[in-house]
Structure formats: C-alpha cells, structure tokens
Amino acid sequence: MRIDQSHRPWAVATVSILLVALLAYIPYQLFYPGGPAGNTWPGLCYGVLGYGMMLFAGLLGARKRVPLWRIGRAQVWMRGHLWLGALSLPILLLHAGFRARGPLTLVLAILLTVVVLSGITGALLQHFIPKRMTQVVHLETIYEQIPHVREMLFEEAGAIVDSLCAVPANLPAVASHSTPAAVAVAEDSPSDLTEVQRANLLHVYRSGMVPFLRDPEGNRSSPLSSRAKASAWFDALRRQSPPSVHEALSDLESIFEEERQLIIQRKLYLLLHGWLLVHVPLSVTLLVLGGIHAFVAIHY
C-alpha cells in the first residue's frame, strides 16, 4: 500500500492521539504517587488503549482470511493497521512508564518493538517496491507460478532448438513438446542449418542454455544471466548462422530475458514479503502474551 495524501486523516488522527497521550502523561509523571507504572489507573488506561490498538491491527489478518465479511473496506482496515499499529508502541511505552522490569514485560517490550519496526520496514517496502517492480519487471507473472512458468520456458526453448535441428530424421528431439507454445514452434520448423551448425547449436544449447534454464538463480556466472552478455552471446550465434534462423534465435533470446526478469521478480517479491516472516509470527505471539499479561496484571 502506498502511503500518500489519502493517509492524511489517519496521520492527523494518530499524531493527535499521541499528543493528547503525551500531554496527559506529564502531570501523571510529575504528580502521581509512586510515579508512572502499568498498574496505576492512568497506566491501565494507556495499557487498554495500546492493547486495543494491537488487537485492531491484528484483526487485519482475520479480515483478510474472510474477505467476504462486510466489516469496513479492506483499505480502511489496512490504514488502521498501519497507523494504529505504529501508535501502539508509544502508547504502551507510556503504559509501562518507559520501563520493563519483569521477564514477561521485558519480552513484551522487545516483541512490540520488533513487530512495530518490522511493520514500518514492511510499509516502506510496500511503498517503494511495487513501483520498482513495474519499472524493471515488464514480464511479471504470478509469483507462485514462477516455477511452472520456468518449466514452460524450458520446454519452449527446447522446441525452438528442435525445430532448428529437426532436418535429419534420425536426430533425437532435445525436448518433449507438451506446451502449446512448444508444439506450435515444433510444427513450424524450417531449418537451413548445416550439419556442423546444427551440432554447434546443440552443443551450445546443452552446455550453455540448459544449465541456466534448469537453475537460473544458481548460474550467476553464466553469460545468459546478464542482458548485455546474453546479447553478445546471441549475436555471436547469429553471425555463425544463416539469416533464416535469426528470428528463432531472437525468440530464444527473449526466453532468457524473461528468465532474467523472473529472477528479479523473485528477489523483489522476497523483499516485499519476506519481512512478514518476522512480523506476523511475532505479532501473534505478542497478542497471546499480551493477553496473558493483561489477565495476570489485572488479577493481581
């Protein structure tokens, strides 16, 4: 979610609540017998407010699980999650009087800090990375489909090479053509390559292209992992081939460009969603421990 002008009401409300809480804290700090602590009435008020904000922020997960629930717009929930979640940290610091003296309260303070900081990191990543993704990954696909798409690109590349090397009937096919694109390529297979050129292309395919297509992220040293090097690599192939196969070679080159973009997309995706591996588990743990802390603290 981009943090833009539409967040202004939430930002104003958050800053206003924080200012009121800070102003109320001043006389509380100066005059309350024994000083600020979580078990005083003002401290309990801060605690209930802060835990309420945490709960609201946590309910975003439930809201996402049941998108058909018509309890407010998803956008409102997301903005509330961002701003109230961030606000819960200072409010709960006021609740605790800026101290964490017990083991459970210390764990809660650490969890809350990590959760809020990871959330802020996530919000910044969500703000910048989608735009970056649009700029550098023109051939973006559904993230979960990337392994499947890679299999199809591998087949398509094999079909193109098959079509270029298919004249001798006794030459084995380099790939089985199960995908529509690969079948289409295999059926349209004119080739003016000499036997030497075919053998050369097959060698290049097996030793250069296949390893990269099989494990694009594990072959960083391959010339095909860089657009400039790949371009030079394919230019050299074109120079050794008749013009009639140049278009097929350009198709092959475009397959490798798509592979490279999938690498970038995967990296950006991991960056965009990886922080959730910290944020979500710790948030749930925080809510559970926070509930236990509230129960025990109120009881005693």
Partner: protein, 408 residues
C-alpha cells in the same frame, strides 16, 4: 515465428491449481507463527508447572522480600482484582507500622509510600509523593498543624525550628571564640567524635525517628572535657578537688575535707588570722572556699541564685540537647568528610553559649538540592514517617521450612 505475449498465451501458461498449494513464504509464515506461540506458551508453562510466578512480576523485589518472588499471592492475596492494591493486613502479617501522628486525617496504605518491584531500593524510605499527599497542603484533625502546612519539596522546606529561634537557653556560660580563636582549641577537643556510641535512649527522636548510634555528637561533660583546664580547687591546703555536683553535695564534701585536714594539722589553728578552735577554723575556711567557688570557679560556666549562701544555692539547670533536630534525623557520621566549620561557621566567633550555632537549611541545600548530582533531597533523607517509639514487637509466625517452601 516471433514470440508474442498475448493474453491467451499467458492464460494458457497458468497452472490453475496453484491456489490450492501453500508456497514457501505463506507456509513458513504459518509454521513460524505456530512455533512462536508454542515457544511462548512453553516458556510460561514450564514456570506454571513449577508453580513459579516469576515471569509475571512487574519488577524485581527488594532483597528482603526476594524470597516471596515466586508466590504473588503471599502479598497480593487471593482476593486480588482490578484496581486492588496489596492490603495493609498482608504487610502487617510481618511488619509493625506505628502510626505517624494521632492528628493525621487519614492513614495512607502501606503501598502508597513503600512501592515494591523497583529492585534493590531502600523500601523503608518511602517516596516523597506519599508524604506530599498530606504535607503539600496539610490538614489535621485538630485543625491547627504543628508544622508548616505547605511543604512540597526540600526547596520549599521552612528553616529549621531551632535555627529560626534567635537564642538557645542552655543555662551555661561558654565562649566559643575564646576557646577556638584565642586558645586554638579544635572542635574535637570538646565535641567527641561521632564514632562514640550514644545511649540507646537517644536514638529515638521525639517524632520516633531512628538514627544510627554514630549519628550524634556527644554532649561535652565537665569531667570529660573541662576538668583538665578548669579544676574545682577548694583550697591550696587541700589536694582533693570539689565534686562537680549540686551545692548541697559540694558543701558537706568541703566541710569534711577541712575537718580532716585540721585534725591532721592542728598546728595551723590560729595562723594567718584563722580562728583558734577547730570548729571555728573549719567554718572560717569553708566560708572562704565556698565564696571563691561561688564567685569565681563555678560562675565561669554556671549561673546561680544564692540568697542564703552556697549550701542552698540553686544552679540554673543546664540544657544541652542530645539531639538538635528533634523532628529529623541528621547523621554526623555521614558528613564526617566535611570540616566542622564548613557547616558551623559561626562557632569561631560566638562569645555566648546562647548563640544558636546550627547551620541553616541553606547550608544543607548546597548539597541536598534537586537534581542528578544531589546528595539526596527526598523527605526520607531526614525524616521517618512511623513513630517508632510506639513500635510493637512482631512475634514470628513462621518456621524456616515454611519460608523456604515459598522459594523452592
């Protein structure tokens, strides 16, 4: 044929079953979420099985209460609930807390002054806010506070009562200037170092405040301080000195001394204008000696009313207090690094014993001011809330096994 990305092409590439599978990030998110909650519950569960409530403490207990740290209910009771504080009865199970003042309009709860769970602090000291509940705007049952009605900090504390009075009625004559200035005596020559223990009775102030046995300066006594220079010589013929006592005790002593002397030296009868009979000689000598005592020796320090002679003279009672701060608990031993004159500057120029030589509160404030570098400016630095003169002994109720079971 050139590769063209059409919607159809892209659509044909999609594996439509992908939504049914969990991919790494969502899968690990779930695994870590469950693991995080389980680890947290396991942590608390281990303590719960051991019946140990340490994780829930809101802070470390003072060392004296540390053995109670695993059982919240020992202090908090079983009837704890929202907004409920530790009941005074829980404290009274082990501690006596004598009342502060009979005229106080209410007795605050123990925990409003003695705030636990703050680590290794002096819990008995209480907190200023506890005192300020009343003393910031004091009202009493009698309607007339015996102390200043509005004290909200040491900066606003009134001048010490003894200092505020202009003269001190000691009943003595003493010239500090002569002794310290002209004779170059040191303070410690007369005022015994604070290390000398005081009688136990002096450890309680009028307000019941306890002070350390090394807190006070001893009261100078004649025998301990004055005698070497100010001997109570009766007569050149006698080797015995007069006792430092009331005239009715001194008079028979002097009579007995002269009677013994003339019995041993009958040749002195009639000499130097003295009477010739023993009884008249004794009366003559006693009268002369007592006149000298009354007009020269004793009068150096004491004042008398003696309308019918020495034997019936009334000495003005002396009143050097053992404790000058009767409502506070000043500790000289805590200030022994300072020179005497740094606080008692006027001692070197004082010529009469009635001068009040206590330092004013301004001297204290030079070190005991608010701020991080302060030597302490809280109420409990000088005052003690409970009137320990009314302390009731607490009878022990526990045996070691019971106590050790609280902290297995």
């Amino acid at each position: 044929m050139a590769r063209i990305r059409t919607t159809k092409n892209l659509g044909q590439r999609v594996d439509r079953t992908y939504l049914k599978r969990l991919y790494p990030i969502p899968l690990w998110r779930r695994i870590l979420t469950v693991a995080g909650v389980l680890v947290a519950l396991l942590w608390l569960g281990i303590y719960a099985v051991a019946r140990n409530q340490t994780p829930y403490t809101s802070g470390a207990l003072t060392p004296a209460h540390a053995f109670l740290g695993k059982k919240c209910a020992v202090c908090h009771g079983d009837s704890a609930g929202i907004g409920k504080k530790v009941d005074d009865r829980q404290c009274a199970a082990c501690h006596d807390g004598p009342v502060h003042q009979a005229s106080a309009t209410f007795n605050p709860a123990c925990v409003s002054c003695h705030v636990e769970h703050r680590g290794d602090v002096r819990l008995s000291a209480g907190i200023d806010a506890g005192c300020l509940q009343c003393h910031a705007n004091l009202h009493t049952k009698t309607g007339v506070p015996a102390v200043a009605a509005k004290i909200d900090s040491f900066a606003n504390h009134p001048e010490f009562a003894k200092k505020a009075s202009s003269k001190d009625a000691t009943g003595l004559r003493f010239n500090h200037q002569k002794h310290v200035g002209e004779l170059s005596q040191k303070c410690a020559d007369c005022h015994a170092p604070a290390e000398t223990a005081q009688p136990a009775s002096q450890h309680l102030s009028k307000g019941g405040g306890r002070v350390s046995s090394h807190a006070l300066i001893t009261i100078p006594t004649y025998a301990g301080v004055c005698l070497p220079c100010h001997a109570l010589t009766i007569d050149d013929k006698l080797t015995e000195l007069a006792p430092h006592d009331k005239p009715e005790v001194v008079h028979p002593f002097v009579q007995a001394q002269f009677t013994q002397y003339i019995a041993a030296h009958p040749g002195d009868l009639g000499k130097d204008g003295a009477p010739g009979s023993a009884k008249a000689w004794v009366d003559f000598k006693v009268a002369a000696a007592e006149k000298k005592l009354l007009e020269e020796t004793c009068t150096r320090c004491h004042t008398f009313t003696a309308p019918q002679g020495f034997a019936t003279a009334a000495v003005t009672p002396t009143a050097i207090p053992a404790r000058w701060f009767t409502k506070g608990s000043f500790d000289h031993s805590a200030h022994k690094e300072l020179t005497c004159a740094s606080c008692h500057a006027k001692a070197a120029t004082s010529t009469v014993a009635a001068d009040v030589l206590l330092p004013g509160i301004g001297v204290c404030r030079q070190c005991h001011a608010a701020g991080s570098a302060s030597a302490g400016a809280s109420c409990s630095t000088c005052h003690i809330y409970h009137d320990w003169s009314k302390e009731k002994p607490v009878e022990g109720k526990y045996v070691i096994d019971q106590v050790s079971r609280l902290n297995p």
